[in-house]
């Protein structure tokens, strides 16, 4: 655990130098590490990096899906078009709302359920396993089930709302301008919060018991114990979780696509859905690629900000 590179505490200097010496002793031929990383690196270059660069190239062209070998170089025109495109602006806003709500809700629910499942009670092992079921369910099956649950006339969701006398129960939420995004969010959060719960529960096992008990005996209330003892231990895990959830929400496709295809009228049209829609529905590969590049740029910015922040936090921890 002490060798964790993203952990905030830094090992004492002596420890570092012995580690370095040992690492040096273990090192064989100077080319060995390159040999070890070569196959996977080549693989990723062929199947990720080259396609990414091709997609970048495509974003500077006007290319139709139907005649993809006749492509015309148009420079930055696709990007200029996007600036004035209200659909694209809406997609940015939808993406930000979708991502922020997913991350905040998944982590809050994950934290709440992890704290709930951390305390001892009968059947705890069963409960811990059962709560992760949504994470194991295939998104395509989740989407099909959700479409049925949200069916306006016969779906159980509508039945329940109408039972409580709510008007919104007579709508198909996935078809409604106002309710499609909340419905897609509910379904996504249901699917992803167990992962946050598992990770935070694992992190909670690292909270020092003595400190926690000492704080409780000193008369600190639960909130203060949480702030003083629990949070500092789990904070790095929660931050990393926030980063991964953000990236995964920015790139989530199958669940949203099968639920709504980005509709109605763009109400759930995130950037990734927009990429696919422009490429395969509108058959404009160049425009789709340009939207994709904007999405990748946003993910990159999030990652860089995260690493800057953790580096600063690590420095602050040293002082």
């Amino acid at each position: 655990m002490s060798s964790n590179s993203l952990e905030l505490e830094t090992p004492p200097a002596a420890d570092v130098s012995t580690r370095a010496r040992k690492a040096a002793r273990l090192e064989g031929h100077p080319l060995l590490p390159y040999l070890l990383v070569l196959p996977a690196t080549l693989y990723l270059v062929v199947f990720q990096i080259v396609p990414l660069l091709q997609e970048l190239g495509l974003s500077f062209t006007a290319t139709s899906l139907l005649a993809s070998n006749q492509s015309e170089w148009i420079g930055l025109a696709n990007y200029r078009d996007l600036i004035g495109d209200p659909d694209f602006r809406k997609a940015i806003v939808i993406t930000l709302i979708y991502t922020v709500v997913c991350v905040v809700a998944a982590i809050s629910l994950g934290l709440g359920s992890a704290l709930l499942l951390d305390a001892p009670f009968r059947g705890r092992g069963f409960a811990r396993a059962a709560v992760t079921i949504p994470w194991a369910a295939p998104p395509v099956a989740v989407a099909l089930t959700a479409i049925w649950i949200f069916n306006a006339q016969y779906g159980v969701f509508g039945h329940v709302l109408r039972f409580f006398g709510l008007e919104a129960g007579s709508l198909n939420w996935l078809d409604s301008m106002d309710y499609a995004l909340p419905a897609v969010l509910m379904i996504t959060i249901w699917q992803i919060f167990p992962f946050a719960s598992v990770v935070i529960l694992a992190a909670l096992q690292g909270v020092p018991h003595e400190q926690r008990e000492a704080a409780t005996i000193d008369g600190a209330d639960r909130l203060n114990v949480f702030k003083a003892v629990v949070w500092p231990t789990i904070q790095p895990s929660v931050m990393l979780l926030a980063l991964f959830s953000t990236i995964w929400s920015l790139r989530r496709f199958d669940l949203i696509w099968l639920l709504t295809q980005g509709g109605p009228v763009g109400a759930t049209n995130t950037l990734v859905i927009d990429v696919y829609r422009r490429a395969f529905v509108n058959q404009q590969l160049g425009q789709g690629a340009a939207v994709g590049m904007v999405g990748v740029a946003i993910a990159l910015v999030v990652t860089v900000v995260y690493f800057k922040y953790t580096a600063r936090a690590a420095k602050a921890g040293e002082r």
């Binding site: 690196t41 992760t132 194991a136 395509v140 099909l144 016969y154």
Partner: protein, 276 residues
Amino acid sequence: MITSSARHTLRLVAVLALLGAAAFPIYWMFVTSLTTSSQLFANRPQLLPSFSELHVYKDIFAAKPVGRWLLNSAIVAVGTTAASIALAVFPAYALSRFRFRGKGAIGFGLFTTQMLPEAMLVVPLYALFAKAALLNSLGGLVLANTAFTVPVVVWILKGAIDAVPLEIEEAARVDGCTRMGIVMGVVLPLIAPTLAAASVIAFFHGWNEYVFAQTFITEDRLHTASVGLAGFVGELSTPIHSVMAVGFLYTLPAVVFYLMVQKHVVAGMTAGGVKG
């Protein structure tokens, strides 16, 4: 002041509510699959399964190639798992144990490939796979899926190898083990729980994958369960209880498999990538 027994009851209620919310959609998929057509469109939903309707499961196998779909998904999932682990073990070891020029760049590269959405790369990958005659091939799907699982698997395994003390490797070395022997015989057994966790992640990716399976495969006999099931969206001729039966058959193996290895996954997450 809340008494401790009241607090205990509150906790129990909260846990039950949590489990109910987590399990409900899966339960509902199952109940719907075992509901008669007339009950499906009744004014009140049927809350319990009617086991006299079990023939739905037999009928759906006759009506659609469900067995073939599930088999194809299993092939893709197992292939993706094997290829991901085989490709990821050595770079994970190198990133954990060596200092070398370009290590930072490779680490960052691994991380950034995590951001690339399948739905975006599907266009250039389609062109590549068409040239390499990899369309309409389950092997092609394995190749495409592995590109998206290798980075996260390397990341997770590296975290676990970091936690293996160097002294153990040195001792094996003194005993005359080769480097290859050390990695395969000493390091891998020590990180077995993390290997299990990484395998589960790769397996689920292959089992669930939809975009490539939908785009690269046009032959019916090669369709995976994700594509077969997605084909029911907007289709009206198949009754909803049959659709839910297929969905349940596709979900059940994943959930059961996950519950079986769940302990290892949690242990692996703790040791591995997600903690850094």
